[in-house]
Subunit: 184 residues, 2 copies
């Protein structure tokens, strides 16, 4: 089962090692090279045992790297029209997750035995939806609950991407959003 893992103190030795190892993974991926613990260690300037001690397995390390990339860069666009913002954000989310790097990140997150990482991804998504919802509430509107948006839009999009050939194109996403906003 997953090990509880404290975030390293910023600026400390553990944080510097983590940054170097994450950077090494990104660089090797970009170069299309095989991801092995010895290759990552050599690139990061640490010993393989440092990596094994901190992450346990390669899958756990790749899962941590993927979660870091799935962290949102900022808040969803605020155009003044929360419905339009919601549509746009969900469309971009589906596109990003359906892309080859998006699929690879989900695969990395899920293939490790680190349930907390998968939960973190879902929490990021929920937080972004909450931001749009709060803006709608502040304007006296009645947006759907975040949990409803997770069930009715996020879940079917991710299921389609992971388990079907069809994927989640713009029309499909738009249909899901209309389904949930129509009842809002």
């Amino acid at each position: 089962m997953e090990k509880p893992q404290a975030a390293p103190r910023p600026g400390g030795r553990a944080a510097r090692i983590q940054a170097a190892v994450f950077k090494a993974v990104d660089e090797l991926k970009q170069a299309g090279e095989e991801l092995t613990v010895p290759a990552i260690a050599a690139r990061a300037g640490v010993t393989p045992s440092t990596i094994y001690r901190r992450w346990g397995t390669l899958a756990d390390l790749l899962s941590d790297v993927a979660v870091r990339h799935l962290r949102p860069d900022g808040e969803p666009t605020d155009s003044g029209d929360w419905r339009a913002d919601l549509r746009l954000w969900l469309e971009q989310y589906a596109e990003e997750m359906a892309s080859e790097p998006g699929r690879a990140m989900m695969r990395d997150v899920l293939s490790a035995d680190r349930a907390a990482n998968a939960c973190t991804c879902s929490a990021y998504t929920g937080q972004q939806l909450d931001v749009i919802r709060q803006r709608a509430l502040a304007r006296g509107d009645t947006p759907p609950e975040t949990a409803v948006l997770m069930d009715r839009v996020i879940a079917p999009v991710i299921y389609r991407i992971l388990f079907t050939h069809e994927g989640a194109d713009g029309d499909y996403v738009a249909g899901l959003v209309e389904g949930v906003l129509g009842e809002g």
Copy 2:
């Protein structure tokens, strides 16, 4: 990317090797032993290169084994009341997928670079729902489309299991089913 893989001719050499290798994986798992290609090969009485030639990687082999286990044993129960049958089937499906072996199978299916296996799982689910739907139609009823059931019940159940702490308990599943049957 995934290699197209013809099903072996029943009774042929390839089918016998596949059966022996799948059995070896199951036995090693049951014994709680580490799953490595050499250990599987030794147990199955084949050479490791036979396994690499046929499956490419350990992840691909484990994905194929998991898909085989996810194949339904038979048709959903037919009580004469399709709504009750649907509720029961979905409840059992959620329970099975949320169990430790269910999660491990999904992880094995998704962690390999074999999109066809994930699609096969989803197709199995759709076929079971189709059976219940056809019975309802034969009785002159108007059950929800299978695609709607996939979006509104299967997808949120699987998303919850894969990405959240909450899981998909009986009340949650019942709520999803009522949501979709209420509109049927």
